[in-house]
């Protein structure tokens, strides 16, 4: 067996996300968002990160508010159920944040190009759109077979992907289920992968279902045990989306002062997030119905 890759979240972030890294986050779009890892990036005062992802809900907004990012390569940044992301808006409008504007399809294909080891992927989206003005990773060209206009999307190969999953073993083998967005592509495209997991499971649990594995463990650099690590986004099998937290965050990010107070309370006060959340809130979010997948057999 290889050496264990189990680290504390703080250690994993310290070791594999140096200042200046390009980081893929929020790759499942609206669920399994690695919010705990985002708070750790802020807590460690990371600087000059490039944030990569399709739709991060409020994660990118928080990391930007924390002053950690100098560039975003994304399709959307805001607060899914309330609208704008205020930290993102302030940073762009003040000129402190560079943005490469993608669509969900172009960012998916940029990461897939990275995953496939090719310099670009062709798409038929975005022709005639403003994305060409603000994204040098898009280039129109003629299909070598049909002559049709095609948008080439340049490969993105992040320095690190941070991915939250339901369970992982200490060697980096991880199960994720639900909608996975661009997670597979992001993992395969990235030089390093940090897994944050609701549960650390024995290797036999993970190897009991190799189709459920999200990326091969040998490509993973670190695994951290982080219960509630995706809150307030939902995690199938564990907890529902905490809508109130997103509504509260709209208020808590509206001004610089409000955000500073948010950061002081939720980030810099320490890393015992479940204690901050409180038992009652966690209980209200835990899944109430069970809906178990039908058995499958890998015997021989």
């Amino acid at each position: 067996m290889p050496a264990s890759k189990l680290l504390s979240l703080a250690e994993a972030i310290a070791r594999f996300v140096p200042d200046g890294s390009s980081v893929a986050l929020g790759t499942a779009l609206e669920s399994l968002i690695p919010f705990a890892a985002g708070r750790e990036l802020i807590r460690q005062r990371k600087r000059s990160l490039t944030l990569i992802g399709p739709i991060s809900d409020i994660l990118f907004d928080q990391i930007i508010g924390g002053g950690c990012a100098s560039k975003v390569r994304a399709a959307w940044a805001g607060n899914v159920i309330t609208g704008s992301g205020y930290c993102f808006r302030r940073a762009v409008e003040s000129g402190s944040l560079e943005v490469e504007d993608h669509s969900n399809l172009t960012i998916a294909m940029a990461l897939r190009a990275g995953a496939m080891g090719v310099p670009f992927m062709p798409t038929r989206t975005a022709l005639g759109s403003g994305l060409y003005e603000t994204n040098a990773s898009l280039r129109e060209f003629a299909c070598p077979f049909t002559g049709d206009a095609v948008t080439a999307v340049a490969a993105i190969t992040p320095d690190v992907a941070i991915v939250h999953v339901q369970r992982a073993d200490e060697y980096g083998n991880a199960h994720a289920w639900g909608n996975l967005g661009v997670t597979r592509e992001a993992c395969l495209a990235s030089k390093h992968i940090i897994i944050t997991a609701e549960e650390i499971a024995p290797p036999e649990i993970i190897s009991s279902d190799p189709n459920r594995v999200v990326t091969p463990g040998f490509r993973v650099s670190a695994v951290a045990h982080v219960p509630w690590g995706a809150h307030p986004s939902p995690v199938p099998g564990h907890y529902n989306r905490d809508h109130q937290a997103f509504i509260d965050y709209q208020r808590d990010s509206r001004t610089l002062e409000a955000f500073a107070a948010w950061q002081a309370r939720w980030v810099d006060s320490g890393d015992d997030y479940p204690a901050l959340l409180g038992e009652a809130r966690m209980a209200s979010l835990k899944i109430k119905t069970r809906a178990l997948a039908e058995v499958v057999d890998y015997g021989y």
Partner: protein
């Protein structure tokens, strides 16, 4: 005060103080649902379209299939109210949980019949801006961006725009094209290489608009109950064409309302105070 996709300081268009058995967003969701035919493959966007799909699916379009950019395909309404497509009830007994690339492939192949997009700015040819007010070189306000909207607008067979109807939003020419409509008019989509599609309908807080088949220019075809054509013209930033036969948007039926309220019992998306 800037333009937000949702939430702040947006005016109400419809006659205030007039008691109605339904809210303005409920009317709009019902109008959106009617754009879905039975058996359609629907790429379902955020916010009101979430409800529009569920309403259509539960009424006149039981065989519609919903496709969500997160990598979800559903052929049944979610079993519990959802605020967003990533809520766990929207995953429960989905027809398929896949990757974003998979569902984008369906879209890019031309399998998606209809999709829905919101916007902060729209122009007479149905181009949408949800990225930069002022434009990319002269940023007055940064909005969230495309998400999947540019893809839906580029690749669905047709798409429906859902918007608050205000003069600052209905502009002669958008500052930035996040989601292409008909560009500068007829023939533009072909010229730039978009394989199909274009906006077919704009559902606003005031009425319903469609596009002239020859010129691809937006045209008012329906006003909501209590709204006048002049109100619409006053709220549009260019001389809006008006159909020779403007009708009144049908009100949601009691049965539609009852269904809709099961999907949004707290009125998060459909209370009178909710902006679109």
């Amino acid at each position: 005060m800037g333009i937000e996709v949702k939430g702040e300081g947006m005016g109400k268009g419809m006659g205030e103080g007039t008691p109605r058995p339904y809210t303005q967003p409920e009317l709009m969701v019902a109008a959106a649902a009617r754009e879905i035919s039975d058996g359609n493959v629907v790429f379902v966007g955020m916010r009101l379209p979430l409800l529009g799909f569920q309403l259509a699916k539960s009424t006149h379009a039981p065989n519609a299939v919903g496709v969500y950019e997160l990598g979800i395909i559903r052929d049944s309404a979610a079993p519990e109210p959802i605020l967003t497509m990533g809520d766990l009830p929207n995953l429960y007994r989905a027809q398929w949980l896949a990757d974003t690339a998979d569902v984008m492939g369906l879209l890019q192949q031309g399998i998606v019949d209809v999709s829905f997009i919101g916007g902060a700015q729209v122009d007479r040819f149905g181009n949408l801006n949800t990225t930069y007010i002022g434009g990319a070189q002269n940023i007055e306000m940064r909005l969230p961006g495309s998400g999947g909207a540019c893809d839906l607008a580029s690749l669905a067979k047709r798409h429906i725009i859902i918007m608050a109807h205000e003069k600052r939003r209905f502009v002669p020419k958008v500052d930035y094209i996040t989601s292409p409509g008909y560009g500068n008019g007829a023939g533009w989509r072909d010229r730039v290489g978009l394989p199909r599609g274009g906006p077919s309908t704009v559902i606003t807080t005031l009425g319903v608009l469609r596009f002239d088949s020859a010129t691809k220019e937006m045209m008012l075809v329906s006003v909501h109950p209590g709204v006048t054509v002049d109100q619409v013209l006053d709220s549009t930033g260019w001389p809006l064409r008006v159909s020779s036969e403007v009708v009144t948007t049908p009100a949601p039926t009691p049965s539609e309302l009852a269904t809709l309220r099961r999907f949004d019992p707290e009125g998060y998306w459909t209370s009178e105070r909710t902006a679109v």
